[in-house]
Amino acid sequence: MKQSQSQSQAVASVFASYPLSKNLFDEVFEPTGAVKSCYKNVMSFFQKFSLEDIKKLNEFTKLLFFNQGVTFAVYSDNLKGVERIFPFDLFPRIIPNDEWEGLEKGILQRNRAINMFLHDLYHGKKILKDGIVPAELIFSSNYYLKEMMDFNPPGNIYTHISGTDLIKHKDGEYYILEDNLRCPSGVSYVLSNREAMKRAFPKLFLNYKISPVHDYPEQLLSILKSVAPEGIDNPTVVILTPGIYNSAYYEHSFLAQSIGIQLVEGRDLYVDRNFVYMKTLQGPQRVDVIYRRVDDEFIDPLCFRKDSVLGIPGIMACYREGNVTIINAPGTGVADDKAVYTYIPAIIKYYLSEEPILKNVHTYRCEVDEDYKFVTENISNLVVKPVDESGGYGVLIGDRATETQKENYLEKIKSNRRKYIAQPIMSLSVHSTFIEEASDFEPRHIDLRSFCLMGKNKEFVLKGGLSRVALKKGSLIVNSSQGGGSKDTWVLEE
């Protein structure tokens, strides 16, 4: 009896000092402090552990990731980059089934419309002619490629792999934060997180029916094969990586290994008479489908950046001949421009004649005079970001910036208004997260990156996705390069 009593005291202590956040949406706790129903099992499971146990498990999973080399590189002065493990949080994020169904429908709807939009932009440009999206917006984008004009990619798919970022606002609703249409990364962490979670808490899985994530590699392969050039029965599919010093190299090698296809670098490939080959010990081998993790501008020095050593000279010509499929199609970046983002609801209505299922965050485009005026007057209440950068770089959060920072930023906007957009400061929902320095669970802001695959007559959304968590107290920036971590994300099956 005594023992169980002391245990139940330990129980209370795990979450005893957990601060409930006013004005924020907590994923785990109701405003009253009660645990939400889908988290009840996890909570009672965690309460069997002491903080000491949790600390030990935390170290155990860290070591697991470290030894497996589940790391990413942070760009710095050091050419090789510094290797870090991607922090993994032990407390899973849970999405109830009904909530997920809505998300999945919305993600598919959005990506279908985006594909039709891209096809239109590179063909008749009807949407521009109809005045739904301003033509200057498209023609001024660096990602709009003349090389893609009037070209039909196999199956008319442009964005085979896309990552839609979502947040939950304090009203409890999901909002789309941005679309990532240029080979988004992060999916390897989804699979590694699930493995780590299973190793750390095998018993926890008995209490839930959780949608699996391990079918992602095979789904990806079937999508990649579905868009192979005409007449190729058993296509040779490869993943193209910039190399071992790229920040996402772990993911590239992980995907190649789990799909069972070759990981190649630009220097392994060459073009001969409009076909692409890889250099092997037995001589040249033809390549049919390239899932490239190299940006558009580096992919073909004959078309784009001449100084690129990561790409393959002449590959765009092979692509246009239909002799090789490049995934995602070049030129998709024009649609994930953060200024184009504001038009996506209109784009969905235009092509699908449907109401958008998922909400956009209201966005002010600095190039519009009215919006620009609003931004200059209300910068303290806005998040301002450059339209064409990723990784959380160059973002200004109005209520946290100093006066000088804001002034400098306004100067930058003034010099290039097309480059900046602003949004109201969304309060990302918070989730209990084990914080090492505090040795305790504390609320931290999270978002969700979903992964959507589209092929010829195939669509797939990975159930769950990557819940990224801003580990710095109060921080809203969840990117791994800026001190973010991640959580295993469970979609419940019932």
């Binding site: 470290f66 030894n67 497996q68 080399g69 190399g243 071992i244 190299y249 090698s253 190649a256 290994q257 070759q262 990981l263 190649v264 670098e265 220097r267 392994d268 890889m278 250099k279 092997t280 010990l281 037995q282 001589g283």
Partner: protein, 313 residues
Amino acid sequence: MLSRIANNLFWMGRYLERALHTARYVNVHYFSTLDAPLLSRKEFVLDSISSMTGLAYEYEDKGEDLDDEELVYRITMDENNPVSIKTAIFCARENARGARDTISSELWESVNKFYHSVNAYNHTNLNHEQVLGYTDMVVDQCLIVQGYISHTLLHNDIWSLVQLGMSIEAAGQLTRILIAKAKDILRVENQNLGKPVETYQCITLLKSAEAFDMSRIFYKNVPNLTDTLEFLILNKDFPRSLIYNLEAVSTCLNKIKMIKGNEKGSPEFFAGKMNATFSYLTVEDIEEDILPFLEKTLDDVYKLGELIIRRLS
């Protein structure tokens, strides 16, 4: 098999083997200084280490005179020294990383762990115990990695390329060890120090190749120079002998599916020629002129290495 990956696998094997031989040589020699017989003084042993590893060229050029601690640091931990153990492990891991989708996760994890254990020693100098601990750890980890190489890879091109790298490096390293020791022994002979010193040198030589116990079992005698040379160069059953590794090089070259050449100047031809020569060699032939023979052998091993690298690229 992509040519780039083939190179990664080959070099991973070479760097691992290089780390293994260097670690064992330092371990055996550094500790033999503690109870070395008359005149096998410390400096003498340290000279031997620096010439075997090639460090001698590095610092003699700069006119530096290294003390023993500095020398051991340079050879074990110095990441700026291209022949240090640390550099070798770093390079082995980078090559494994480049071929990560081709090797097993178990092998990758063992190489990655190895790299992190080497990094965990970040002292600027090592005391006696740490030199022992560090080199022991390196030898152990190398053998663990080799275990994953033999047991978790398909024994086709993938394994053959790693093995090719390990065998050619082993042949080269053993020849370097033999040259360094032959020089030691000749120096001793000139000083007329007699039998015990020769025996001592033979024992450190055998131990440097983990061959002491097996040679005792094979010859049932206290080691002498003739037996030691015969065992390390010509014993076909001992996996660290020169002839064993040269044969392995030939076998691997023939096993790897690649565009082959049997003409003069191809690696297959050259390896076959070396093997044929060694098959009809006696220890008496070798003893006639030890140093020139070993130096010629080292040149040939390097030449073979060059031919293989050219073939893989």
